[in-house]
């Protein structure tokens, strides 16, 4: 059976029941705001560590120390994985935060005789919720810089045993 749209579900409630539900969602909303803030703080710290690790790799390559550059790459991968997981966790927390806000806003609107439909509710979903990971991962120009050293790195990785 298809799920009842949220605006329809809220419209069909008594004002008192709706008000109780808003109270519950307000508390949940605050919890998810805090969860999102924690994610953002973690992401800030990760971004700094990633940038430091990238700088170290570039520095090693400039000094023609390919072995240490490749070694640092493992550390960078761990950090990038943590960044992607945190971004994904943030998207789940944000979706929940938005859902609670949606219930609060639509309930308030219904109380003020605003008429909702599927389209108007759909328009309330921020575009940012739909483009999260792809945009943030492509943000760094580190890979462009690294491509300058591609031949040196390839030589080390594929021919490593014979280079010395």
């Amino acid at each position: 059976m298809a799920k009842k749209p949220i605006w329809m579900e809220l419209e069909s409630m008594s004002k008192r029941k709706r008000s109780d539900r808003v109270l519950k969602h307000t508390a949940n909303y605050d919890d998810f705001v805090n969860a999102s803030k924690d994610c953002i703080e973690t992401l800030g710290a990760l971004r700094k560590s990633i940038s430091a690790s990238e700088q170290r790799i570039i520095k090693f390559l400039e000094k023609e120390n390919q072995a240490e550059a490749v070694a640092e790459i493992l550390r960078l991968r761990v950090l990038r994985i943590e960044q992607m997981v945190e971004l994904s966790a943030l998207s789940v927390a944000r979706a929940n935060r938005f859902y609670n806000k949606l219930v609060m806003d639509v309930s308030k609107g219904i109380d003020a005789n605003v008429k909702y439909d599927e389209q108007s509710v759909q328009k309330m979903v921020p575009a940012e919720l739909k483009t999260l990971v792809a945009d943030s991962v492509e943000a760094s120009d580190f890979y462009d810089i690294l491509s300058k050293y591609k031949d040196n790195l390839r030589e080390f990785v594929t021919d490593g045993g014979n280079k010395a």
Binding site: R75, V85, V92
Partner: protein
């Protein structure tokens, strides 16, 4: 919606666990796994770095044979880290979703209103574990981005 990850046995089990105390216990255990795996990865990174420094030193003094040995150790350690790395990401994903699910009022993405159906949940949105592995390799491995494979 979230086809692969949300259908894993661990997650289903956690969803069905209603006791707060039991859930906290699961989270603590999961946190421990994640910390242990990260420790292994960082230790491996330290080992690789030591061998890499050794390579640089040997090359400087023209000690070809030992430099080659150290380089082999770097390459081997990098490859050996792969299984830990893929387990680390799975366990970290699981931990973060457990922690989020433990927040009061959590609603599963599949239970959210229809209007929110096309939200990007990042790694949680991928359809299969293979897709996750491919995406991680492309997005997190600088060597893979440059088209360089350790298996070549």
């Amino acid at each position: 919606m979230i086809p692969w990850f949300y259908s894993t046995d661990e997650l289903k089990k956690f969803q069905n666990t209603k006791s707060q105390r039991k859930r906290e216990k699961v989270i603590l255990q999961q946190r421990e796994y994640v910390e242990q795996q990260k420790k292994i990865l960082l230790e491996k990174a330290d080992d690789i770095k030591l061998n890499a420094k050794d390579v640089a030193r040997r090359v400087k003094y023209g000690d070809k044979h030992r430099a080659t040995e150290s380089m082999m150790s770097v390459a081997m350690d990098l490859k050996n880290a792969e299984p830990v790395l893929s387990n680390y990401v799975n366990n970290l994903l699981l931990l973060r979703v457990y922690e989020t699910m433990h927040i009061n009022g959590y609603v599963d993405p599949s239970a959210l209103p229809e209007a929110m159906a096309d939200i990007d949940y990042g790694l949680y949105s991928l359809s299969t574990e293979d897709e996750l592995r491919d995406m991680l390799s492309q997005a997190t491995d600088p060597l893979a981005v440059l088209g360089i494979s350790l298996n070549e």
